[in-house]
Subunit: 366 residues, 2 copies
Amino acid sequence: MRYAERRERLRATATERELDAVLVTNLLNVRYLTGFTGSNGALLLRTDGTDVFGTDGRYTTQAGTQVPDIELLVDRATVTALAREAVGRGAGRIGYESHHLTVDGLRALESVLADAAAGGTVAELTSVQRAVEALRVVKDDDEVDALRRACAVADAALAELAAEGALRPGRTELQVGRELDARMLAMGAEAPSFETIVATGANSAVPHHRPDSTELRAGDFLKLDFGATVDGYHSDMTRTLVLGEAADWQREVYELVAAAQAAGRAALGVGADVVAVDAAARDVIAAAGHGGHFPHGLGHGVGLEIHEAPGIGQLGAGTLAAGMAVTVEPGVYLPGHGGVRIEDTLIVTDDEPELLTLTSKELLVL
Amino acid sequence: MRYAERRERLRATATERELDAVLVTNLLNVRYLTGFTGSNGALLLRTDGTDVFGTDGRYTTQAGTQVPDIELLVDRATVTALAREAVGRGAGRIGYESHHLTVDGLRALESVLADAAAGGTVAELTSVQRAVEALRVVKDDDEVDALRRACAVADAALAELAAEGALRPGRTELQVGRELDARMLAMGAEAPSFETIVATGANSAVPHHRPDSTELRAGDFLKLDFGATVDGYHSDMTRTLVLGEAADWQREVYELVAAAQAAGRAALGVGADVVAVDAAARDVIAAAGHGGHFPHGLGHGVGLEIHEAPGIGQLGAGTLAAGMAVTVEPGVYLPGHGGVRIEDTLIVTDDEPELLTLTSKELLVL
């Protein structure tokens, strides 16, 4: 696995910033750098290469299996114990994650440093900002592989649900959502990526509708936004179907969103500005007079979190790089009538983006 | 629902501490006080009774439905916008949750206050510590009802799995875990309470074993630790079975743990010291010479979190009160051989504790 490689990249950042050590407390960042999946763990990464992984007694065995290559420190007060270790080994400048550590957590670290100072050892704390998240934006091969498998589970779960006739009039949004979740779990997902969205009829016009007891009806849109988590990585996909015969207005809205989504996908490339990628899809919708019916950004990064950098939207900033994993998900929502969203997860490459969500985007009429 | 009642209890705390307002940012605390279930929301509770609920544009509709009784503020930078609102309305002393707010979050609030000070309005920030968590320890009727339903789902899922013969030699821990999860979802759980533990044979001696491809075998222990989340509330239950014939040593360990568990349940009462409750069960195990094989606390509170106050263990502090929801879960783990844990979720009452997990605790031999 690539954990050691990832730690070397963070070590380079730390060295560049003249830090002696970095205390990584964001559990997802700890997982990214070590492979540890328990609920309490932290990493003391030192620029001299002697790292320490901390956890509590519940995870001694698990840490031995998952993090065999890093010195282990077992302590209930994991983070302060690692800080004491850092200071004891002579770290003068210690980086910490100010976007994750709580105010109480910082006070506890400051108290460790105050004790050390009383003993004549001076150390200081400085925020590393989102240094690990900055590394996580570009996925390595292991991560792309996990995302590919997560997307495959979601594709297969939807295919099975459709094939078995579970998407039919009379069933409720909640029933459909639960069956989709159950199928993803049966197919090897650890969990759904987020609370599955099932929205039918007028509910489909609500971008983030929570499934309720509304029944599916013939002639209505059925919007499914869902994903599977595999090895910690999240897939994200939206498909909108019609139950029975599609009306002209439904085909029209669907084709418009599909065209916008294709334009968004085509705009994904190395060096592309995220605002321009958003615009590529948004312009298609605006040109058809529906600019006001697309109230959210075009997409977002996915990985160990369902929403992570880069944000692809009008308020975004930055450009795309090879290896970024992103969604492209334009929508048109007509309040009181219905809405369509089409969403894929893709990997940016030097060539065409790699499509990970393979379910057809033809208007599916069930 | 009881959200307004809960807010009045927090308002009383705030008034007592001479605060003008409390900025609640821990999303679970926000849910507890308002009913909001989205992924971004915060509450500005003011001692004069004019509260403001903040969220971003994705949740405008949902906030209207779930939080109809509180003034709504929609802003991407939700927490700083609420702080600006507090200062603008003349709050001089503003409480915040230092155990939850990040260092960067506090810096942002401090910057709002600095801007206000530059304009001549002076306000200060002070931690309220875990004021809302302190209220959450005692459950009201709505919460007990949700916990009861969550426990019923877990009971029913296990009963169905056993009745259908899914717990048989040759199946893997992972398969059993996934089926248990899928059944809980199908029965109305929003999610499993935590990553379901399925541990068989020697794995059952690992207190928090992660299910893997180990196959169930005749004559082995099978330990299942799992729960369902319903309306945000978590059930927690462990049962240990034997597949096929139980050996004498298995019956012996099982009866010991069952006796310790009964002693722990019997010790649950209003005013009972949590250390004494732990000791009631631990003493039974120690008297049999297995003190060293019970390396964790006896139990913990459950509610909107799977682990919350009160902790019932040797390092705990405090006494029990009517309405607390707790687990009682002693275990004896014999490394390399196998282990037994038996766990219930119960409500402390003025009378006998109410048992919410109703699955039999007789040694089930399948």
